[in-house]
């Protein structure tokens, strides 16, 4: 590690504080429903399943909790035959 990097390094306590602030902001807002993501996943998939057959193994869900914005990314592989039916 260069001297420059050494000086720029954040104290670990500051990193700890920032991580906690972001995490707890989310945990407090979803208090009592710590499985918010799991529920969202279930409900979203249920809605889609009403319209087409999907393979539960071909659903990918990613969550990124940020300071101001969080993103929930749901990636569902839609079978070709279903798409043909819809079309």
């Amino acid at each position: 590690m260069s001297l420059f990097q050494f000086w720029r390094r954040k104290p670990t306590a500051t990193v700890a504080r920032d991580r906690l602030q972001i995490l707890l902001a989310h945990e407090r807002s979803s208090f009592g429903s710590s499985d918010l993501v799991a529920r969202l996943q279930e409900e979203i998939i249920a809605v889609i399943r009403r319209h087409m057959e999907i393979d539960p193994d071909k659903v990918q869900i990613k969550l990124d909790r940020g300071n101001h914005v969080s993103t929930l990314e749901i990636d569902i592989e839609v079978p070709l035959s279903e798409r043909a039916k819809v079309a």
């Binding site: 104290p11 670990t12 306590a13 500051t14 700890a16 504080r17 991580r19 906690l20 602030q21 995490l23 707890l24 945990e27 407090r28 208090f31 009592g32």
Partner: protein, 271 residues
């Protein structure tokens, strides 16, 4: 008017039992009638930290199930006349802690004592829920460390929603007790500062207990740290916390170990 106080934290190993013993002893020394109640059914340790482990005959569960009267289960401290211990059961299951049973015991204790201090087990299940249920005041014990702060935040949420007071639309008076604090490491940026923890948890600060070897020494011999050597840094920190708990205004400080002339001369502690 008696007060029910819960010492809680969510996370284990942060110093709930040590703090219960130290605060209970210091409160009793100031003349208040105090009982410390161990809610850690199956893993009782308050009796050991208080040095009463060989005098346990009956326990909280025996009283709840009607196998013993409350006065039979209470152990009078040998050092302080106004201090008693109600141990937890070591063998029974925590499901034996019934809501009605606990309510009855707490009501009876309220009549006999000025302070009923409930030592909560770790976690957020039945044991901790029962320990906090009747609380008027809560001391949230937190280490300056991410997992402890997160768990404390969760416990604060439960104190605000699941306790009897919360259900009546009242509030549990909450206090933060930061334990195992190392001012030197915090100054170097290697440990969360008191202000950081306060900022995140936003409940009033009751005290800062410095990291100290005295805590282990006291528990080794079964004496609350405030009784073992009242001049040590953690003992003075707990005494300050207790004065604040009793409504006194005590300036917040982090007590340091006092070193004797000889120790200072040699630049280190002489064992």
């Amino acid at each position: 008017m008696s007060k029910v106080l819960v010492v809680t934290s969510g996370k284990g190993g942060v110093g709930k039992t040590t703090s219960t013993a130290a605060i209970g002893a210091a409160l009793a020394q100031s003349g208040e009638k105090v009982v410390v109640v161990d809610f850690d059914v199956g893993l009782r340790n308050l009796d050991l930290v208080m040095g009463a482990e060989r005098r346990v005959v009956f326990d909280l569960i025996n009283v709840i199930q009607g196998d013993a009267k409350l006065h039979q289960a209470l152990i009078r401290d040998k050092r302080i006349e106004t201090l008693s211990i109600l141990p937890a059961s070591q063998t029974r299951d925590k499901d034996a802690l019934t809501t009605d049973g606990v309510a009855k015991v707490i009501a009876e204790l309220r009549e006999k004592f000025d302070w009923v201090i409930c030592d909560s087990p770790a976690g957020i299940e039945r044991g901790p829920a029962m320990a906090m249920h009747h609380a008027d005041i809560a001391i949230v014990v937190t280490n300056p460390e991410v997992s402890s702060v997160r768990d404390s935040d969760r416990i604060i949420g439960l104190l605000d929603s699941k306790t009897e007071r919360a259900m009546r639309g009242e509030r549990v008076e909450k206090h933060l007790l930061i334990t195992r604090y190392d001012p030197a490491r915090a100054a170097r940026g290697d440990m969360l500062k008191v202000e950081d923890v306060l900022d995140i948890l936003s409940i009033p600060l009751l005290g800062i207990i410095p990291e100290s070897q005295e805590v282990l020494k006291a528990s080794n011999i079964g004496v609350p740290v405030t009784l073992n050597n009242p001049e040590t840094a953690p003992a003075r920190a707990y005494q300050d916390a207790v004065r604040r708990l009793r409504g006194e205004t005590v300036p917040m400080s982090i007590p340091q170990e006092r070193r004797s002339f000889v120790e200072r001369l040699f630049g280190r502690r002489v064992a």
